[in-house]
Subunit: 477 residues, 2 copies
Amino acid sequence: MKSYSIKELLEKQPVGDSVVVNGWVKTFRSNRFIALNDGSTIHNLQCVVDFEKLDETVLKQITTGSALKISGTLVESQGKGQSVEIQAEDVFVHGTADPETYPIQPKKHSLEFLREKAHLRVRTNTFAAVMRVRSALAFAIHSYFQQKGFYYMHAPIITGSDAEGAGEMFRVTSLDAKKPPLDENGNVDYSEDFFGKETNLTVSGQLEAETYAMALGKVYTFGPTFRAENSNTSRHLAEFWMIEPEVAFNDLAANMDLAEDFIKSIIRYVLEHCKDDLQFLEGRLLDEEKSKPQAERSEMTLLEKLRFVVENNFKRVSYTEAIDILRNSNPNKKKKFQYIIEEWGADLQSEHERFLVEKHFKCPVILFDYPAKIKAFYMRLNEDGKTVRAMDVLFPGIGEIVGGSQREERLEVLQQKIKDLGIDDKELWWYLDLRRFGTAVHSGFGLGFERMVQFATGMGNIRDVIPYPRTPQNAEF
Amino acid sequence: MKSYSIKELLEKQPVGDSVVVNGWVKTFRSNRFIALNDGSTIHNLQCVVDFEKLDETVLKQITTGSALKISGTLVESQGKGQSVEIQAEDVFVHGTADPETYPIQPKKHSLEFLREKAHLRVRTNTFAAVMRVRSALAFAIHSYFQQKGFYYMHAPIITGSDAEGAGEMFRVTSLDAKKPPLDENGNVDYSEDFFGKETNLTVSGQLEAETYAMALGKVYTFGPTFRAENSNTSRHLAEFWMIEPEVAFNDLAANMDLAEDFIKSIIRYVLEHCKDDLQFLEGRLLDEEKSKPQAERSEMTLLEKLRFVVENNFKRVSYTEAIDILRNSNPNKKKKFQYIIEEWGADLQSEHERFLVEKHFKCPVILFDYPAKIKAFYMRLNEDGKTVRAMDVLFPGIGEIVGGSQREERLEVLQQKIKDLGIDDKELWWYLDLRRFGTAVHSGFGLGFERMVQFATGMGNIRDVIPYPRTPQNAEF
């Protein structure tokens, strides 16, 4: 007897064959119909048992969550809702799930409740679908870059360099926590730490990715990054995954082309490969939105939104144009924005980005050429001396999903910038070397993976798109 | 004029076309022949310049390591060593590389020297080839699992659980390093730390992967793992990448089948996709081995070794059989082993594993059914009460490359084991839940990614197969 995953069985439908499936009981009704799921697909397999032939003990053990091995014949289904089903000949109980204590019962659980049970929540339809889409998106990302001739590069996680300045960092240490060794000045003596210096968790692999782009041409990272910021919001995680492509000889225009083509390609991939899960998630979202006031509901369904991104050009708008639009906008004039845009140079807040994307342009927007003052030190200064070749891709409902730039490739300009900002250039000797030896125009960007998973699945809280979210006061499991 | 990567250009050979390439100068000879490389391939593109037409300043800037944009016509080459070349019409210098200070000159550099220049070493043929193979291997791994219906799962990097016991851990903290807050007992008060508890860097994603396997059926992780162990050897890193598949309903035999099929598949992938790089690395290895005494040289070349693994079955041997073989072996009788094998229960050292693989069986070996005492708490106890369903895959030259097991799925047995070992079961409540609710036979293993890259590239030191190695006293870049 051949063993199948439920996904394979529903695809191949070998009607008449004797088959074996393993899985967990979703529901069991009328002592006869088991809806079995093995996680391979959102769909359950109906298994029909003859309770008169089944041992009483076994019958009692068939409850939601119990693990079964079912052998039988695949037949065309008489009932509604499925085309095939198994006529069970044998049922083996791998493990039971006491209905009195098993938390994942066939009823609606709140997302908050399930966050406390992160080790079990992936047994629900919603989380299983989200995590399958997450997996597909990750593979789409690798496939895209590998097909385009990029090399995957692992940037270091523990870093001795804290010059990037993208955010607060976590310290990594093996020193005695209570009584660390002190040096002669009474400061912690990191020379006695594991790495002989103070080390932190990376906030970005970009600087190291640049070193590889300047040798292999086109590279990308895909790894975890960290922020020790006390942001207890639905948009922030202390540990999240980032994708950072970096391309030698690409200018900002080529960088925008790459970002747009890349994003469209990975969304196209999940549209093709995750139809069932996306359909389920679309239904979930519609359901969730029923409880919201009309004005807060999405104008498009999940699938419509994904198709919209794939089928439409991203609108490219300079920061300067964006400021004009915002200054003259109704919410600005009527002081409905929390932060009123008064002049050029203002940093854009989420409310402004969402206005541009959701109300004004009604499509994904790429903002570029930002004021140098509000962007990182490594971005290429424009000829105007006050803007840099930065770009942010803004998405409906999500805000910034990609941030990137052409990098400053001129040694003197970069050195001056580092000096002006008071950054310790000893930390950056190797980064500056890239400008000393065979420097060239190059560009890259970072995509926050979880934000993309949120967009693709319609999940509102970033904690619901990563298996074990790390947030302030929370590192369970 | 169309812009090409050198790889594309050498594949398509659009002879007669006007083309543009960007890259870095490998060598420049006779003021006429530039060997240009852009990292897309091991092969250089010959670009022929007419020095009489070229600006004197530009000519002087064409030195090893300088970045150029060359426009010209692709023609069939008159010279040896290449079938096509560019007749350069225009040369633009992106950036120079002063021969007086640029460390990567066209001569042999020692691997030790290059480790100090990790940001530039990938500009050498050897490291570029290694990192391209590394990238291909990573993609092969994702492709294999995705094709087989596995879902990619990101296990957490920062973990509040230290129960796995695979090794010493790094602490992750935001507390003041010098004067951490203390509780009433004078201990460090981790409730004031970022996560409200003590947290560490993960040593393995296995336990969390099990939670996902028991919902999605087949999952794999691919992420960084850490060991705060003071092992300054050519085989150990403090930060390395691991792949950990976990499969519900798989027993140990199925686990061994999976490991063997998986390893063969990814090696087959690099044999198909990295021919040029592997050929180069094979040559490098032969060269390196010339300086070794005959006895220490490999019996097979790099490619022969890779093909051998793909074409032969791994030998499956129980621990008990292995102990018999070792006890009766010459090096044991003649006391040539550092650790003499005297009785059943002994832990195997690298010298024993290498003897089995390299001298006795002369092929990859899977050892299984180890004594419970020398293996982790979560491994499935056999009916004999003294061995567990563990397996290690041993490779020539590398030793253990995969370690795995069938997991203990019985709640009571696992609880007893945890109690016997004095592990705090409060840390493992969620892991035990998997045995309370819908438990089933399941299995998995871990592959150390860098060891696999070492095997595939023939590099002897693990520090040379990861971009920025982290080892005791070293976290540069």
